[in-house]
Amino acid sequence: MAETAPLPLDPRAVRLTASAADRDDAILQCGRALMEVGAVESPYLDAMLERERAVSTYMGEGVAIPHGTLKAKEVVRHDALCVLRFPDGVDWDGERVTVCVGIAARGDGHLRLLSALARILMDPERARALREAEEVAEVLRLLEPIEEEE
């Protein structure tokens, strides 16, 4: 439960000024960012769209966390995150998303990443800082896991 392992975020997978035509475009850009750091193979992109259509990955605080379906695990080479900021916002089924954290994970590794991310976003100040971050280093720092209180 206490999870303080670093999140697998490659600085090359952080984009501060992305823009997307719509939700699916934003998801595909996340998928391509994950591909570019060698974390996933191309079929993962369709799996991300499929996952989003099944259940929205909107988490609150302007953040969505697109990721693939369970059956796409075989095209994941290693666990990774990407962070794409969309300063103009993306309409996400009626919610406004300004940060996408794309997730690639083998096994049930995404659950660990997801809950670590949720703990970060539960701090409104930290969530706001993430939405407004202007430097890659700041994004990396903000996504450092929070120590468990217990």
Binding site: M1, V55, M59, R112, L114, S115, E150
Partner: protein, 85 residues
């Protein structure tokens, strides 16, 4: 304080659709509702972030609690969602 203790049976645990359904149902109730994993710290059951932060997996026990009029009814529904396979 009324509470229910259930074992989570969904393959994905209390993530994805089960988590979304759980939070949406909790959010409609005019009561404060909390959920805790095992004997851990209770968190707001109406917040998807709180629920996901618990990282509840299949086989984990959760304790759902509420107080006030209608607590039994809403807790029964939430317990059913949390324990659905």
């Amino acid at each position: 304080m009324t509470q229910r203790q259930v074992t989570v049976e969904a393959e994905v645990g209390l993530h994805a659709r089960p988590a979304a359904t759980f939070v949406q149902t909790a959010a409609k109730a005019p009561l404060d509702i909390t959920i805790a994993k095992g004997s851990g710290k209770p968190v707001n059951a109406k917040s998807i972030l709180s629920v996901l932060s618990l990282d509840v997996r299949k086989g984990d026990i959760v304790v759902i609690a509420a107080e006030g009029d209608g607590a039994d009814e809403i807790l029964d529904r939430l317990a059913e969602i949390a324990s659905a396979p």
